[in-house]
Structure formats: structure tokens, C-alpha cells
Amino acid sequence: MLLTEHEGKRLLAAAGIAVPGGFVVRSAGALARRNVAYPVAVKTQVAAGGRGKAGGVVRARSRREAQNAVSRLLRTSFNGETPRAVLIEPWLEIQRELYLSVTVDPAAEGYVVLYSPRGGVEIEAGKPPARYDVGPAREFRAYRLREILATVETDAAVRERVIALARRLVTLAATRDCTTVEINPLAKLADGSLTAADAKIVRDEYAGFRAADIAAALEKARRPEPRPISRALAGNLMLVWLDGEVGLISGGAGMTMATMDLIGDAGGKPACFLDCSANPTPTGYRLAFELLDGEPKVKVILVSIFGGLTHMDRVARTMKEIMAGRRSRKPVVFRLNGTNAKRVDEIFAEAGLRNHAALENAVAEAVALAKKRYGR
């Protein structure tokens, strides 16, 4: 879960990391009640990258300029994200822009620290940043990072500040369940101090059970989602809408993607990625059907499940029940296999349902049905 800049900076500040003293507003009018020293930076708050290059950060020299910028930014989407707030910060006189981040990296078997003495919007175009493979957070060693930065950052005072900051970021990542903590730019000011001019923090959604703020943020993030996505999340289904017409109900990310690929190869287009493996119960499947039955672009539903822990005789019985009570007339094609799959045919036979033995045949039928319905 990517935080917005001001949410990220709140976490940084709590960990003793310097951030500019800003505040968020949700309307241009809100600025009128604030005593602000100009110039300021007016920064749109979207949980998406590339904002700086796309004009999401504006320098304003007066209240009028700032209010205009706030109004404009609140109306502008970035990367498909509508901002819900704008951050107002003192405009920093930056002597040098640095780059510092801590992320989870398999090659590091844990956290990696990345640093570049030249940060900012063009970071990806420049020389790749210096890399310190930390591993678990407790393996962070200031002296190791110092060795690595010896030739990278020649200003010793900056180097020591960066090392101290890197330790804080690694600790922050580990103790607050962040998978990415990126400060770009990390601003070196005239007095030599370092301030986080921006913050990109990704928190681990799986840690909600022990981090109340992650649980709350997940709950909050769910609300503005369109209703089907929001319902899928609540029902523990993983739903991503795509722009095709073959609705796919599957189990396991791998089988879902593999079936999507086959739909494409058969000349069709998947309407969604819908993985029910985290909730393979009557409730979960019922919800999956409701979501796809209610979505107009879905012309046909393909159920493609290869169960391991999921017992396919139970799935078959569930499908039988759902089919019996279902109002939608969208055709459904089944391919069930896996644990106890040999009982599926027998269960389906009672209900006049058919289960495909081969995945390719099921896909072909689904794509053909979708085309037929499209043609109508």
C-alpha cells in the first residue's frame, strides 16, 4: 500500500527524521485561515509516482498563486489517481538533491539501502545508486555503509548524516512494516542539514494484524474503491478488472494468469483476474458470481480451478448449488481439477452440468460463447 507524501512524511517525522513543516488542505479556501510565509510548494497528494515531472508540484509566491494552484491540483488526476488533498510546504532552498531509499530485495535476503549523491526527478537516467545489502534489519552496520559510500559521497559531513539517516530508515522499515521507504529528493540545505523533501513509503498490507495504522489505512483505502473491488476485498477475493469479455473465476494466482494467457491465445480477452483461493467457500464463490454477473462487459464466465488444499468435490457441490439458484443467464464453462476431482463428474451429472477435462477445451468454449454473445 503506497502512502501519499504527507502520510509518508508523518511516519518519517515520528522516527526522528527531518521533514519540512507543512500542512494539508482540502480546498483553496482553507489556505485563507493559515498564516504562511511565501514562497511555498503546493504539492498534489496522490498515491502514485511521477508526480513531479507531470506538474503536480507548483511553486507559489503569494496566497493568490497558492490558492489557484490548490484549486487546479485538486481538479487534476495523476496516473489515474484523483487527489484528495494538497500539501503546502515552505519552499526549500536546496543546495543539492540526494537520493536515499530502503527497500525489500530478495538478492539482499532482506533490506537494501540505495544511495545516490545526485537525486531528484532524473534519478533513473543517471548512474545507478550505490547499493548496500543489509539483510535483516538488525544486520545493518554503519561501518559497512561508510565503506561503500567512501568513494560515492565525498562530503564527509553529508556522508555521516546519510549513514545516520539510513539506519533510521532501515529501523523504520522493519518496525513499521514498510517494504519501501524512499526519500527523493533528500535535500541538502544551506546549513548542511538533510531534509526529506519528498517521501514514498509502501507499507506491507499483510501486517495489518499487528499494525493498527495499516489496518485502518486498508479500511480507508477500500472505501473509495468502486463497489465490486471493495466487495471482493471484503470477501477476501483478489479482483483486478481488465477490458475483455471472458469473466474468469479461478483459484491461485498462477492458474488464473495461465488461464488468462490461454483466453488471449484463443482469440478472446479476459475481463478480469479473479482469484478465489483465499476464500474457496460457498460464500466466496457466490460473491465471485455476483460480481461477474453484475458486470455488463462480462459475456461468459469461465471457472478454472486446480485445487490442492481446495477439495474439488466440495467446489463442485457449491457450483451446483450456485447454478441452481442463479438468475443471470450468462453462460458458465467449467474446468475443475485437483484434489478429489474424480468425484466432480458424478456431482455435476446430477445437475446437468459439464466439466471439461482439458483446460484448452474449456477456454475455447468460453471464448466461442463470448463471441457469439458479442455478435448478438
Binding site: 530478495p106 538478492a107 535476503e109 506491507d204 479461478s250 494466482a253 491465445d265 483465499a278
Partner: protein
């Protein structure tokens, strides 16, 4: 032969008394796995499915000599149970659970390393050496003994893939589910090293997807001189960039994460790579033909 698990392995189940634990115990025993017992934090000193239930892994090990543990506990307490297993001297721990915070995955891997053990997981169906033993919940009928070592990031895909291989008479030495998360107990390159060293594994099948760097580890292995022939199935051509496809690791963030880039790297390294399950058996047969070719040459 096979890797990590075989007919001599003695397996315990942590969380034996839960529904999944009981089902899995029956399933493992039915497959011929030597299941030695299990642990339960709530119902100690009883018997489940004819197996002894111990209050701790140490007690289970002392009494049964088990060297493999299959851990069925929720994510919130998973790290604690996995550490317990390694510190009790278990050699191989399989943690199939998903939804594990990455911080805990990092610590699990570190615990395995610190204790000289091997962790498989999280987010995996486990491991099976067909005809010998299994520690996981993959459907047994999909597997048969043979010359292929299989490594998979996805559980469900590995069932489908092995179902096809078995159907085509292409059996397996060991099938390892390395899991779909970013931080893995056993990585693709570590799994490759194990299968590389196994004399009965003649060719390796890798089942991968978009996102992450694992496929580049596979390509790097394949490019080495003396590498075993490799076939690969890489899925996710229809996945849009920037969206997480179920697996924590299955997300296209940069160009290197894309299907095309991975296929290119694998092909360049001499891997028989396909982008569709339909092409899997053909790719694997091509890889095995490579084995015969190589043998003919050395003969």
C-alpha cells in the same frame, strides 16, 4: 534419487489438530510419507489420525527423530513456529501459508540460515518427491516418478503443469514449490543448485511468471557450462503493468519484470521456454532430447 525429501524422511505437522493439519496428515500417510506425529499448542498429549501429538517440536523430535516439519499455523504466529522448528533441529521446514508480512519472511529465512536448515515457503503447496514422500498439499495424482526436477513459483500452476507432464509420461524426481512471495525460504537459484547436484534429475522444469528476478537466476544457471537442460513455462502475458496479480511477487514494475524480457533472457540462455501451458510438454521433450544428445556426444 531426489532432493530434500524422500522415503527416509520423517515428517511432523505443526498444527496437526486443526482441520488442515488432520486432512494433510491423512493425505501424506496415504501417499506413503513417514509421518511421525505433530504438535499442537492447545491439545497436547492426545492422538490425532493415529499420530502422537506433542506440546513442542523439541518433544516431537526427541520422541520421533523427525527431520522435516510441515507448518500449518496462521501468519500471525508463523515466524514463532518456524523458529521453534529450526531451533529444535529440524532440517527442512515447509511453511505453506500466505499473507505473511515480508518482515517475517526475512526473519524466517534468517532463522533457517542461522540453524543450517532449509525453509520452503511461504505461499507454497510444499514439496513432493513422487513415489517417495510429500510435505505439502499438492494433489498426489498429478505426480509420478521420473527424470525431471521441477521448480515452481505458483502452486496451482504446478499442479496443472505436473498433471500434464505425468499424463505425457514425463515423471519427476522432486517438485519444489518455492512460492510466490518476494522473499523466499528457498530461492530459484538455491533450488536449481540442489537439482543440479541430484544425479537422477536429468532435466529441470521451471514454472515462472512476470515480476521479480527469479527468472534471471534461472537464465544465469542455464548459461553456465555444464548446466542441466532446462525447460520453462512463463505465464502472465495478459497481466497489465502496475497491478499485483495475486502473488506478492507478480507485479510488473519495470521492463525486466515483463513477460517478453524474461522469455528473451531465458531463450538466450538456451532454455526451452514457452509462454503457454499448452506448449509445456513439447518444451520439456525438447529439453530431454538435449540430454540424449549430450549423452550421445560424450559416449
Amino acid at each position: 534419487m531426489s532432493v530434500l525429501i524422500d522415503q527416509t524422511s520423517r515428517v511432523i505437522i505443526q498444527g496437526l489438530t486443526g482441520n488442515v493439519g488432520r486432512f494433510s496428515a491423512r493425505d501424506l500417510i496415504a501417499y506413503g510419507t513417514r509421518v511421525a506425529g505433530g504438535t499442537s499448542t492447545s491439545k497436547a498429549d492426545t492422538e490425532v489420525e493415529g499420530l502422537p501429538v506433542f506440546p513442542s517440536v523439541r518433544a516431537a523430535r526427541e520422541s520421533t527423530g523427525a527431520d522435516v516439519s510441515l507448518v500449518y499455523v496462521p501468519a500471525a504466529t508463523a515466524l514463532d513456529h518456524v523458529i521453534e522448528a529450526f531451533e529444535a533441529g529440524v532440517r527442512l521446514v515447509v511453511y505453506p501459508g500466505d499473507g505473511l508480512p515480508v518482515q517475517d519472511a526475512i526473519e524466517m529465512r534468517a532463522a533457517a540460515k542461522a540453524n543450517g536448515g532449509v525453509l520452503i515457503g511461504p505461499n507454497t503447496p510444499g514439496i513432493i518427491s513422487p513415489g517417495k514422500a510429500k510435505a505439502g498439499f499438492m494433489p498426489s495424482f498429478c505426480y509420478t516418478q521420473g527424470p525431471l526436477g521441477v521448480i515452481s513459483r505458483s502452486g496451482s500452476l504446478s499442479y496443472e503443469a505436473c498433471f500434464r507432464l505425468t499424463g505425457a509420461g514425463l515423471g519427476q524426481t522432486t517438485v519444489i514449490g518455492i512460492g510466490g512471495d518476494a522473499i523466499k525460504g528457498l530461492t530459484a537459484s538455491e533450488a536449481l543448485a540442489l537439482l543440479h547436484a541430484d544425479p537422477d534429475t536429468h532435466a529441470i522444469v521451471y514454472l515462472g511468471e512476470i515480476g521479480g528476478q527469479d527468472e534471471y537466476e534461472v537464465a544465469a544457471y542455464a548459461a553456465r557450462s555444464g548446466a542441466k537442460p532446462l525447460a520453462a513455462l512463463i505465464i502472465g502475458r495478459q497481466a497489465p503493468p502496475g497491478k499485483k496479480m495475486g502473488h506478492a511477487g507478480a507485479l510488473i514494475g519495470s521492463h525486466a519484470d515483463t513477460h517478453a524480457a524474461k522469455m528473451k533472457a531465458l531463450n538466450k540462455a538456451g532454455v526451452y521456454a514457452t509462454g503457454t501451458v499448452t506448449g509445456l510438454v513439447t518444451a520439456v521433450n525438447a529439453a530431454l532430447a538435449g540430454v540424449k544428445l549430450a549423452r550421445a556426444r560424450t559416449a
